[in-house]
Each structure stands twice: as C-alpha cells, then as structure tokens.
C-alpha cells in the first residue's frame, strides 16, 4: 500500500497507534478507522507480528549469552576510587580522593561480603537515650554545646548554613538562635515540631527514639566505623510531606554522645553537627542565659561518671533530678485512668531537655480541665490545648485492611441469614451489638498500637520500675478489654455460624518475646474483622455473601479472643 494512500492510515500512524503515542482524539479516530478497515487491521497485525519477532530475537540473544546474574565486577571499586570531579566545582582533590578511596574500599567490602549489623537501631537509640542522663553530673553543671546547621532546599538546591549555641542544665534550657537566620531557623523549627523532635536539644536521642518507635514500618541500618555508630532510618515512602523521610544519627561509640543528625524531608535536607561540647559550672555561665530557675546551691564535686552501658545490655540510667520519660509515663497513666487514651485527641510527648507536653485538641471543656489538672500535678509538664505548641502531627495513613476472602458467593446464605434473624428489628439489634463489640475492640487495638509504637521493648527496658509497671498495667488493661470485646463478638457469632453451618478452625498465634511484638498482628486482625462485620451486616449494596467471608469472620474473632487473653496473661502486672 502506498504510504500516502489517503484511505488508510500511514505506517507511521499505525506504529504510533500501536505504541500508544497518539493524542487521545487521534487515537480514537484511528481506532474507529481500524475497526472498520480490513486493510489497516491486517497491517496492524503484521506490525504486531514484526514487533513480536523483534522481542523474541532480543530475548533469544540474551538467553544465548552467559550474563552473570551478579554484575559486581572486581574492578569497579578501584574505578570508583579513581573517579575525579572537575576542581572548579569546589571539591578539594585530596579530601575527595580520601573519601573516594574509603568509599571504594567499602564498596569492595559490599561486593564480596555481606554487611550484617549486630545492633538494632532501637537498641542503639535506647543506649544513647540512657547515656544522655550521665552528661550532667550534678545540678550545678551545665552542658554548653555549639552547633553548625546546614539546610539544603531540595527543589532549588540552594544551601544555607548557620551556627548557634546551647546551654543545657538539669532543668533549664536556653539557646541562641539569632545567628541561624531566617532561612534556617523557622524551617528547622517547623521540621522539628512536625516530627515531635526537641528543638531545644536538636541532637537528643530520646525524641529520635520515640519518632523511630512511632513509624509504622521503617528500614534501619546500624553501622559502626572509626569509633562512631551511625543509625540510619528510612521512613515509609507514603510518609506525609512534613514528615522525616530519612534520619541519620551519628553517635560517638565510646559514650553514645550524639555528634550529628542528618534529616531528609520532602522539601529540605538538614544537617545539624555538634562543633563542640563541654560541661561547665553554672557559675561560669552568663546569668542572663539561665534566668528561669535558680541554680542549685553549691554541691560537692560530682561523683565519678558511672560506667557506660554495654553495647547491647545496658543498665538503667542513674538517678537524675528530673526524668522526662518517667514524667511522661506518669502523665500517660493519669490519662489512662481517666479513659482519655481511648480515641480522644490527646497526646503526650517528651522534650528531653525541656518539658513533657500534654497536648489536646477539640476535647470538651470538662475534659480540658481534667487534663490541665494532670499537667499541673506533674513536674515540668506543659499543657497545650488546640495544638498551640506544634502543628498537629500527620500520622501515616493506616495500611488498607486486608482483602476479603476471594471465594464464590453463595446466594442461599443471604436468605438463610434473613431466616435466622426472623425480623428486621432482630437483625438491627444484632448488628448494633456486634458493631459495638467491634468498635470496642478496635479502640483498644488502636490504644495498644500507640503504646507499642511509643514504648518499644528496647525503650521499655530503660524505664524505671514504676514507669514499667504503669506501662505494663496499661497494656494489660487494653488487652483485657480487647479480649472481652473479641469474646463477646465471637459469642454473638456462634449461633449464627451454627445456623448457617459455617465451620471454621481458629489458628493459634505464635507467642512473642515482648508484648509489643504481638500488637501489629492483632491490630491487623481487628481491622480485618471490623471490615468483615461492616460488609456482612451493614452493607445493603454488597454482593451476595460468600461462605469464606463468614468463616473468616468467625475464625478471626475466636483467634483474637484467645490471642488477647494470652497476651493479657503474658504481661506481668504488679498489684
């Protein structure tokens, strides 16, 4: 066919159509023509055959070659080490060469060996949190730190840098921000606020440990090198825009002292590096920097520093004048006794060198007063309502509930379900009852999930006995209530399952070393059960019910009732 035959599509048009490269209107016109034109349809088939032949020939070629699956060639490390960049870009050749050689050596190590961290990120962060208590040896001591801060805007690539100083006492913190400038200070403060890090103490490990614990999933690495330990955490890809995407904390191995923190957010990258750190007597500090509270009277010289914690096993922190984690736990315990930790917009978080913050938004006035009273009753606890301190944290969205069982629908089940209830009112009452149990179960599951995320097992081991007892008591309360709700739901479903001859075998859950480890699975099952309950009993527009959905629902409620009861039993609760 001549290429210019106006009655048919040209070869180029056919190819563009085949490759989906035509604009929408042209594509529609081409499709309509091809639908009615034998010639063009046949040419399109020929074109498709040619492309198939090309693909087949290419694959045959690759199959015929013995291409190594691991393309890590030994020469690459050396060549990376030799890689140069134009000096006009501002790199110092000597430094770069050293970096490149080190990188090359490590690359060689990566290629030929498998790097396996021996510590978890949680353990290192817990070590660092515990060690921080030892930095201030007595109430007269003040830690004086200088920081260098760099900010790089991701979109434009522009960079800013500044320095500031921090004086940190046992119960007071002051810092100077003026030299940071408007390009760094506000944005860094926003980033810290949105992620609940402690702006007053930018390298503190405890808030980073808590941020780490709140992540629904994270990819961690711990690397020890040249006396430093680097903990890198990659947050989930679906993190909100204001959330930290990646955090890298560099610690001095000898005493777990944080040296540098690198944060990557959607729009900014920050690097906060400690330039110097010294412990000085408060008498030597400009009084205007520490005006808020009187410095304690002179005390005997500080005792020798306690031995540093071991790499994995670490001892409880030495006594300090103020323990923010213990205070945070005490506040949480008070809130729990009020029942305000069940689906209420109340948050408690800890600024390591500052205060504990109790934040509430949109709660009734009566509850506000109760929360204010809790804050007043606890030392160093600030109360903020309606999110006045920091922007509300955008929690990462929950993963979608698991898909429903995929099995053939059984239309007879719906009619038998109607027969079982007998009347609309009976069905309505049943639905309300089981939804109430599901809501109760989910509420407790959310509370347990938050507790487990905020207080992971590694952090729990650093708590004082009273705080641990409070944490365990809260976990036990929630798991007992959740077990009751699951058991009630299962008992509601039992007659239904018998009437509809639904048979199921609940699976037992493997026991977990720490109660926190069992929570994600329980939470996921609670959500799945709730989805099934709503699908089966509340949706008028659902497709005909499948037997597998009912079996799964009955099985889930029984499994959870058992697993939660086991969980409750596994948590030691002191009288």
């Amino acid at each position: 066919m001549p290429k210019t035959d106006p009655r048919h599509l040209s070869d180029e048009q056919l190819l563009l159509y085949f490759d989906n490269e035509l604009a929408a209107a042209a594509r529609d016109a081409a499709r309509r023509h091809i639908d009615g034109c034998w010639t063009c349809r046949t040419r399109l088939d020929d074109l498709s055959g040619a492309v198939s032949a090309i693909v087949h020939a290419r694959e045959s070629l690759f199959d015929s070659l013995d291409v190594p699956s691991n393309l890590a060639w030994p020469g690459l490390a050396r060549r990376i080490a030799e890689t140069r960049v134009p000096p006009s870009r501002g790199f110092r050749p000597a430094r770069f060469r050293a970096i490149a050689v080190a990188a090359g050596l490590l690359l060689a190590g990566w290629i030929f060996t498998v790097t396996r961290p021996t510590l978890t990120a949680g353990q290192v962060l817990a070590n660092a949190s515990a060690a921080a208590w030892r930095e201030i040896p007595n109430p007269r001591a003040v830690v004086h730190q200088r920081f260098h801060v760099e900010r790089r805007r991701v979109a434009s690539g522009r960079s800013f840098a500044g320095d500031y100083e921090l004086w940190r006492g046992p119960s007071n913190t002051r810092f100077q921000l003026a030299s940071l400038g408007p390009e760094i200070g506000p944005s860094l403060r926003r980033a810290y606020g949105a992620n609940r890090l402690d702006w007053n103490d930018p390298l503190a490990a405890a808030p980073i440990a808590q941020w780490h614990g709140r992540l629904s999933s994270a990819s961690d690495s711990v690397v020890e090198d040249a006396g430093r330990v680097t903990v890198t955490t990659q947050a989930p890809a679906d993190a909100p825009a204001s959330a930290i995407r990646r955090a890298e904390l560099v610690l001095r191995r000898a005493d777990w002292h944080p040296l540098e923190l690198r944060l990557t957010l959607a729009e900014d990258e920050f690097a906060i590096r400690e330039v110097s750190s010294e412990v000085v007597d408060s008498a030597a500090v400009d009084a205007s920097l520490l005006p808020a509270e009187p410095i304690a009277p002179a005390l005997p010289a500080a005792p020798p520093a306690a031995p540093l914690p071991a790499l994995v096993e670490f001892t409880p922190p030495v006594a300090a004048s103020f323990n923010p984690l213990a205070t945070q736990m005490a506040v949480l315990w008070s809130i729990h006794q009020l029942g305000a930790d069940l689906a209420e917009p109340v948050q408690v978080f800890c600024c390591f060198a500052g205060d504990v913050v109790l934040e509430a938004a949109g709660v009734p006035d009566s509850r506000l007063e109760q929360l204010r009273a809790i804050a007043t009753a606890n030392p160093h606890t600030r109360f903020d309502s309606d999110g006045a301190i920091s922007p509300p944290q955008q929690s990462s969205p929950d993963a979608a509930p698991p898909p429903l069982p995929d099995s053939p629908a059984d239309p007879s089940l719906d009619s038998r379900l109607s027969d079982f209830f007998g009347s609309f009112e009976a069905r309505e009452n049943f639905t309300r009852a089981i939804l109430a149990q599901s809501d109760a179960l989910l509420t407790r599951a959310y509370a347990l999930r938050k507790l487990a995320a905020d207080w992971p097992a590694a952090l729990e081991t650093t708590l004082d006995p009273a705080s641990r007892a409070h944490l365990d008591a809260m976990a036990a309360d929630h798991s007992a209530a959740a077990a009751n709700a699951a058991r009630e739901a299962a008992q509601l479903l039992d007659p239904l399952a018998a009437a509809l001859t639904v048979s199921y075998t609940p699976q037992s859950s493997p026991s977990a070393e720490h109660w926190q480890d069992a929570i994600p699975s329980l939470f996921s099952r609670a959500r799945e059960a709730d989805s099934l309950i709503r699908l089966v009993f509340t949706r008028n527009d659902r497709p005909p019910m499948s037997r597998a959905a009912l079996e799964r629902l009955c099985s889930l409620t029984r499994e959870m009732a058992g697993a939660l009861a086991d969980l409750r039993q596994s948590i030691p609760v002191q009288p």
Partner: protein
C-alpha cells in the same frame, strides 16, 4: 536499598555520602537494564560489561560534579548510547554478535516439531540479521523502545525530536516486517 549501600554512605560525609548512596542505588537497580541495552547493540559481553561500569562511574562523577539529573534512567541510556558509539568508533572492525548455533538450537528445541524448530531458528536468525543491518540510529531507537522507553524519553536520550524517533522506528519496523513476512 540494602545494608551494603548504606554502609557506603557512611564512608563519605554529608553530601558525598548521599551521592554515593544514590550512585549505588542506581547501579543496583539499573545495571542489568543498561547491560542488556549495550548487548542488544551488539557489543560483545566483555565490552558491554566494561561500558556498563563506565556508565555508572560517569553517573557517580556527574553527581559529584553537581549535575542536575532529573530523569535518571534517560540519563543513563543517553550516556550508554554515547559510550557505545565511541567504543564502536574505536574498534578496528565492527564486532558482531550473532546467535550462536548452540543457543539457537536450544531456542529452537523449545518448539513442538522439527519443522517448527527449523522455522524458529531461521526466523530468529533472519530477524537478528535484519536488526544488525539497520542504521545505528534506527537500532538505538529500536532497542530503547524494546527496553520500555516512550518516544519522548528516547528523544531525550538521543537529543532528537519525537517525530524523528517515530520515523527511525517506522523505518526499522518496516524493514523487519518485510523479513518476517518474506
């Protein structure tokens, strides 16, 4: 990103660490693609491996030099194409890569009957020879399309217009279609 790549990240410092991470990530994710592409352009295996290394070294150096690379894959293909062309110029004779008899036989063995085996073998050889007979630009366009790039991406890689890409592809496929339906 695996632990090894993160281990690399701490060898350097600050921005360099980030760049090394990114370069290793690119190497880990795209190396097979680039190697396949170079092999399809009929570079012998050893040379294709060497060129693949050079592509990622160039990427690393470009990042270190502050180059703004918006679409990584397109950038890698562009560099691979240039390196392939330079390599070919440096060859005293054009290296040829054909489906060897053993491989062709093994491909053909998968067919159902002796006749089908023979046809498959002959067809693959004919198509392969037809691809080899295309112009360099046509072959590059064809193989980039075979690696899944869209016309706009191919145009970016080669620094030509989208209609030019379409025309190179049309000529290539028309030529191969003749072989297939001969």
């Amino acid at each position: 990103m695996d632990a090894g790549v993160r281990a690399l990240g701490i060898a350097a410092f600050g921005e360099q660490a980030r760049i090394l991470d990114e370069a290793c990530s690119a190497y880990s994710e795209e190396r097979e693609l680039i190697l396949r592409y170079l092999l399809s352009l009929d570079a012998p295996l050893a040379d294709a491996q060497e060129l693949t290394q050079e592509v990622f070294l160039a990427y690393y150096a470009a990042l270190l030099g502050g180059a703004g690379i918006s679409v990584r894959r397109a950038w890698l293909f562009a560099v691979a194409s240039r390196k392939f062309l330079n390599w070919r110029k440096s060859q005293s004779r054009r290296a040829t890569l054909a489906i060897d008899n053993d491989a062709a036989q093994s491909v053909a063995d998968s067919a159902q009957t002796p006749e089908a085996r023979l046809l498959a073998l002959e067809k693959d050889r004919a198509v392969h020879d037809a691809i080899q007979s295309l112009s360099t630009q046509q072959r590059i366009c064809l193989h980039l399309r075979g690696e899944g790039l869209h016309y706009r991406e191919i145009a970016d890689v080669l620094g030509i217009s989208v209609p030019a890409v379409a025309e190179f592809l049309r000529r290539a496929i028309v030529r191969i279609r003749k072989v297939v339906h001969a």
